[in-house]
Amino acid sequence: MELWNIFDTEWVPVGAWVESLLQWVVANFRFIFQAIKVPFDIVLTGLEDGLTQAPDLLILTLIVLVAWQAGGRRLGLISLACMTAIGLMGAWEESMTTLSIVLTCVVFCSLIGIPLGVVAAKNNRFWMILQPLLDLMQTIPSFVYLVPIVMLFSIGNVSGVIVTFIYALPPVVRLTNLGIRQVRADMVEAARAFGASNRQTLYKVELPLAMPTIMAGVNQTIMMALSMVVVSSMISVTGLGQMVLRGIGRLDMGLATVGGLGIVFLAIVIDRTSQSFGISARDRGHKKWYETGPVGAVRGLMKKG
């Protein structure tokens, strides 16, 4: 052995260890991971069935109405244009699959991320432990955990949601933590001074005041989920990502472009709509949500009639 080049030898066989650890986990605990899949599966299947099987124009109308309600008439029109473009390009079915994967991911990220963020904001030690984990989840290249995910959860759309979930969870946790910590101390103190319990303070004062920041986190999570669409298609997740991947594989520039444009248009619609949810009532001139948008218009008509 040459002393000057000691690193030619692999001294610590991390690869082999991980390999055997993974084999062992797969052999003995696969059922646990299969059980974890179940809730993801239920939500995803429900959304996907709904979005793909309903008439296209009905879904288009619904999306436009939601966008209008959330962000006003302008956003409604933008959404109409984007979604119509997707449909005319022939990517409607795929975009619905992608949309359902992204939405499922957002549901679980919010369901798990927001409570984690709240606990992190209340407990410094927990936050100290959580922070490096979140860093790890964000920085480790997603290709690295594609293989173990496939081995533990097998391939398909549900595994795609889980991969995306790991990648997209951190922002909502971070921004929830930040949002709660940023609530002015005297707001919280006032709530306590009038006899509110910790729970009441959280629900009536801290969460509402942190909501714009939390929604910014949810928005980031959505955007990260969208950016995973192509990567996750490598474990045979269907949808727009698969169009892109197939296009690359077959050097079919047209197919890749259609998929890519589809992702962009979908991203515009989801991003703007979810951002609009984060604007507080104060910044909308203290109008209740049901006083604006299509719901407001319908209510207006009913009052006149």
Partner: protein, 339 residues
Amino acid sequence: MSEAQIECRDLWKIYGRRADEAMKAVLSEGLSKEEVRDRYDCVLGVRDASFSVKKGEIFCIMGLSGSGKSTLVRHVNRLIEPTSGEIHVAGQRVDTMNENQLRQLRAETIGMVFQHMALWPHRTLGDNVGFGLEVRGVDLEQRRKASEIALEAMDLGGWIDHYPDQLSGGMQQRVGLARALAADPEILLMDEPFSALDPLIRRQLQDQFLDLSAHMDKTTLFITHDLDEAIRMGDHIAIMNDGEIVQIGTPEEIVTNPKDDYVAEFVKGISRVGLVRAETIMDKLDGREPTGKQVGLNAELGEIIEHFMEDQSPVTVISPDGPAVGQITIKSALTALRG
């Protein structure tokens, strides 16, 4: 009746991880603030504070920022836990209460007003004012009624469905007051309520509050860094410095008889005209003939000086039941005016 509504006995607050050790050391060795900081890495917030507030009076705690006055007042509803000492409020002992009793006390017995209003921007004025009732589970209709009454008392009747950011600073602080009064508490804690307002509005709110408290029979603990305000508002004043209560007394006592240089420095620029009374500055009559000019024992310096405008002969002080008890020369009146 001289029953104390709020009473703190030997209250200490030391911040830091080794507060208990530091507390013991302070008691046995009498360490100073600096020694506590250097030796135990702890901050002395309140040092051996004792005071009592009678029912119905306004008790001002006056001190500069960092003197511990805000810390002290937060012990009364235990937003801050005391390191040692006893707190009694409305006949109940606060420092040993459990969480539930404490929440009930805060919701029902003590109302609080904050320096920067601390109104919740996402709630309407009605929901702000009704918060204390809401967390106690009072139903919406009753809450709204109580909010309406409280806002009405602050001349904000029509604003119940508006939001705090639609109001001016003075109006916001009136909402703060309405919120504190909504549950009809016996005790008000006011933490520099008017100091963020401009002078004219501050004056108006002071008057409005004095007027209000005159016929509401609430016990008020009023924090301020402004001695003028303390003198205007307070039946009694406690002066704080460095976490310690330096002197407690009526405004007149504080101004005419400052206990040390620190207090003396404060009262230097304060006008004595509406403060010093005849009784404080009169000399014994000692057989001298009473003059024609007469004032009561409680006559203020301003009134006395008025008598000297005509001629400079001494003024006679008479007791409420008739006989002359003393006299004031122009010299002693002017001396008192100078301070």
